[in-house]
Symmetry: C4
Subunit: 233 residues, 4 copies
């Protein structure tokens, strides 16, 4: 339907960028775009090859995970997207990949330490790794609980989803988000690059120190605050 | 001959995908497609460059390794394919590559541990590494024995080739298979990606734990069993 | 304006080469070209995607960092470029990237040791890593101070910017330069390759020795001195 | 001149394949093709970008390193090629690269151990690393002595250049050769892949054992000897 075309197109474009950026193999990822006025998001159908996708294939789902429009089954990770859209009111797009380096960090169940300004230009915290889910959560509604596992990790650490737009889920893989799905795609590529750099840094120097506070603060202020001076806006 | 065209085309397409997916350098791989009604499979000729291959070049071989149709010598690994088709009745395609990360694991003679859900989405066991062959097997009919070495490893561990569609052969390289040769190609790409992720995981955290049982079970059930909900089928 | 067209075109071409050479992701880099007669340089505007850049977008800046021509805000690293042009009279182009391997070395705060002739063909010193900036420098005029941090590192080690055309800034990333911006781009690609080789060398053999003095001297003489015999000039 | 066209074309094609195969950055490599009847070889001119090369630019040089035809200066590694052609009568092409993984092994001054059948399908020895040259050799006629350093390493280990068609020169980089320059290019790509696999093997398992003798022998016999059965010949 016409009212969904904008988010279907945005979700489609975002999904198509994931293999182009080297972030997904086959169908190992999904992107969604949200329309807050309509209270729905458009998401990739489950297990369909990227080369066969069309914008109109994007399934329209509400924030409780009910399919509102579309004939195909939505991505198996749809409930995770729904939980995040429902609870985090300022995000407009979500991306999930199994990108190689970020997923390897997730498999180690550890945060990605902030080692340099490439990282600090995007977030001034270690990239959090939400802990392994309890057996109860796994055996319950798994994808729904994955959304809560992410939210709980942010609550426990007092992190804001507007400041930290990416997370690892232990033994699983990364999720990223942003004001738009374009920003969420950008964040997933940044996360993969930062994950690779952090791995290399540790390989060269196992005791490499985290970035010092003055540099973290400086890079935060360059992009935020009253004196921000990065970009054209 | 016309009756072989379907498997020749399928084998050809699969062989051509291997360099496109970055899984083979030069001629370091081969794919075959099986027709169980005819009791034969089509396989790449030995040592021919991928850019010169044509569908009609695929050699037709029976399950004892005899060439039934074709003027070129079949792949030097043909007998391994023949043994697997003869003994495992439900497989329709086989792929052999020397893909970089999977081959490195094979060279270490160790299984690839299950570290995350990328792995568990495809198989819920460590990826088995068949042990180094005995001198007697090597000095006998080497490629034929390679097939038995793979089958013996599955029998010893009580693994099913319908559940675990990939194996490493120690000091050699991976084999994968599936209901179709398309699925076998898919599995060889998944294996390479999982092999890379497992290597990185160990590099970042040498004592990284295997995926916990509840997550292994959950991912098995997502794709199998009565409540399966992945994909469009 | 017409007088700036040559350096705008050179800076544009150089900026476009950075993603083509795999040295930058999104907008994580910038290149500038200098006209010493006019006392200005052309540099990429801040945060503009490479695919949208046009030569006329290059901002013209003087050696004190003042915008002389152009409507967009120049790169946030502009003051670092300005300081280097002002103080190092023989350089005509500068490139800054966050290329993966060089940035990982920067994050370890260590020099890249000279392990082989690939390195020695370009410079006969370890690639220097300027130390982490003091809190005072960071909290002052950060990008301006980054330029001084680089110059101080060269002064402390008695290095010449004509002989050593690249540097790492600790916890940040590499800068390179040369007589022209084309040479600066070339140097940034060489640095990334040498950084990768040095990492691999240490991985294979943690106590790998530096290149011995006779080989360092020989490679210096092949490209410099009266008996130089590399290239067509 | 017309008589040189065949080797000029062969050398040109080979040089152009090096960047296509990912084996050289910029001009970090050279390939030559030999005509034994004429007693000359065609080699890339020094320091010319690959995208500007034409077949007629290939310089014709005799086995003592004298330029016989051509206006450009031949590759700075020409004397190494000349020494090998003069002393090893059965080789028809030589390739020198600074390919990343092979060069890293060279920088560690160690042989690449034979860990698997990918290696054994091409040579049944560790890939030899010629030792670092003595100061006398370096300060003498460096590139000429590099050729002797390679030949001495083969003589000391009793290796045949017909069986082992590749070598590392310590702290420098690899050389490969073959009956034709096409085979030499092939060998340089094989070497790079085997070098990467051997590095990964050691990373996963530092004490990984060498391939056992029965497998080495088997793979030697598959390609050589009276019972060879690999390829179409």
């Amino acid at each position: 339907m016409e009212q969904y075309e904008a988010i279907q197109q945005a979700a489609y474009d975002a999904n198509m960028q994931l293999p182009a950026l080297g972030l997904v193999l086959f169908t190992f990822g999904n992107a969604s775009a949200c329309d807050r006025d309509l209270g729905v998001f458009a998401i990739k159908p489950s297990g369909v090859a990227y080369e066969k996708l069309r914008p109109a294939d994007m399934v329209i789902v509400d924030f409780d995970g009910n399919t509102v429009n579309g004939t195909m089954r939505p991505s198996s990770d749809t409930l995770t997207h729904a939980v995040l859209y429902k609870n985090w009111e300022n995000i407009g797009g979500i991306v999930h990949t199994h990108s190689t380096y970020a997923t390897a960090w997730a498999q180690t169940q550890t945060d990605i330490p902030i080692f340099g300004t490439t990282h600090a230009d995007h977030l001034t915290e270690d990239i959090p790794c939400a802990p392994v889910m309890s057996d109860e959560m796994i055996e319950g509604d798994y994808e729904y609980q994955t959304g809560f596992q992410i939210m709980n990790a942010f609550a426990d650490r007092n992190l804001s989803p507007e400041e930290v737009e990416m997370v690892l889920v232990a033994n699983h893989a990364p999720f990223s988000w942003g004001k738009s799905v374009e920003k969420a795609v950008y964040n997933s590529a940044v996360l993969e690059e930062v994950a690779k750099m952090a791995w290399l840094t540790r390989q060269i120097r196992p005791d490499a120190p985290r970035l010092k506070p003055a540099l973290i603060r400086k890079h935060f202020e360059r992009k935020h605050g009253s004196g921000a001076y990065y970009g054209q806006e």
